[in-house]
């Protein structure tokens, strides 16, 4: 068995945080939000670039399961996670995370459900312009993605049970 050592190094951060001056939590959160707002346009440009890359990569996927191709799509999708939220597209953020999770499950399970992925990619395009879609339709799209994921999870559980 390997030897285990415990020690308590001094953390300078704790001391610095207590120094006089600084900001209140409320001021800091507001200032950080204001800073993020200045990145809105840049984030939207990056969101659009990523979305195009996702669509192109998805269309180039081979018809049957190909772990490397799916991992590549997963990486492209994952590079989008975090950006729509900052650009004010919360629903697109949820759909992006959902697609990343779905692709990861497909790679793990060794099974490719093209339609489940296609629905997500199309939803991303729709959710890029939520105002044009309308609140009711946005909610329906997200519910639909939830159902697709649940269906895939159920099939995955069943396959694991049979395996």
């Amino acid at each position: 068995m390997s030897e285990v050592h415990f020690y308590r190094p001094k953390m300078r951060l704790a001391k610095l945080l207590r120094e006089p001056g600084g900001k209140t939590i409320a001021e800091a959160v507001n200032d950080a939000r204001a800073g993020l707002d200045t990145l809105g346009a840049e984030c939207l440009r990056e969101v659009d670039d990523c979305l195009c890359r996702i669509e192109t990569t998805f269309e180039a996927l081979p018809p049957s399961f190909d772990a490397d191709a799916l991992r590549n799509l997963y990486r492209v999708v994952n590079s989008l996670v975090g950006l729509p939220g900052v650009a004010g597209l919360a629903e697109m953020e949820r759909a992006t995370y959902s697609l990343a999770d779905l692709l990861d499950r497909m790679v793990t399970a060794g099974a490719f459900e093209r339609e489940a992925a296609r629905v997500h990619v199309q939803a991303l395009r729709l959710l890029r312009s939520p105002d044009a879609l309308g609140a009711k339709a946005v909610s329906e799209v997200l519910q639909g993605l939830g159902k697709v994921r649940e269906k895939y999870k159920a099939a995955e559980t069943e396959a694991a049970g049979n395996g």
Binding site: E3, Y7, L16, I25, D31, G35, L36, C43, G82, D104
Partner: protein, 199 residues
């Protein structure tokens, strides 16, 4: 207790030296804007693990925010290197990882790399600030062994060990039939009532 984003409690990051490691471009800018909003002045922005290693060798860091997905190597490997080979005191600096979706196959790797926390994107200032303050307040001890170097991971109370709720030498959970009459209310009150103790 929930984190109150309207709190008037003060903190000071002005003199803290903070390392930000993210893919170059807007992702790195997001981290930069958040930390600048918190009042940090000394930010070391690195777009790759290689740049981060050089910065860690040059300056003393008080906090590191690192993405697992970098262009040259995994952020998890970077954190493992920090914990095992970086110069003191950077080896012990708080590390918070900021991650998009984490692959199921890498969850254990994320847990074992030696970071204090993993925050899922999208990043919000409130969540990041809460984690920074929590890390500084909790000051978890460090553990070092062959398999793991990093902050103590057992910091959450998760109930009794997984033995079905009872250990082998615990008393039986089955209660038999009463063999004495119930206590009266006066007897119960007498048990509960505070009494003077003569020392």
């Amino acid at each position: 207790m929930a984190f109150d984003i309207e709190s008037k409690a003060r903190f000071n990051l002005k003199h803290a030296s903070i390392l930000l490691v993210e893919t170059p471009g807007v992702n790195l800018d997001i981290l930069g804007q958040i930390m600048t909003g918190f009042g940090a002045k000394s930010l070391h922005r690195c777009g790759s693990a290689g740049e981060a290693r050089a910065a860690i060798g040059r300056a003393e860091m008080d906090l590191m925010l690192i993405s697992p997905f970098l262009t040259d190597e995994s952020g998890f490997d970077l954190v493992r290197w920090i914990r095992r080979e970086a110069p003191d005191p950077n080896r012990f600096a708080p590390v918070i990882m900021v991650s998009p979706h984490t692959e199921h196959s890498k969850v254990a790797r994320a847990r074992d790399c030696g970071a204090h926390f993993l925050i899922a994107k999208p990043l919000t200032p409130a969540v990041i600030l809460e984690r920074i303050l929590w890390v500084a307040r909790s000051q978890r001890p460090f553990v070092s062994c062959a398999e793991y170097v990093g902050p103590e991971r057992r910091f959450k109370f998760e109930g009794p060990p997984s033995t079905g709720g009872r250990r082998r030498d615990d008393l039986s959970s089955k209660v038999g039939a009463a063999i004495e009459p119930n206590m009266s209310q006066d007897q119960i009150d007498a048990l509960m009532a505070p009494r003077k103790v003569a020392i």
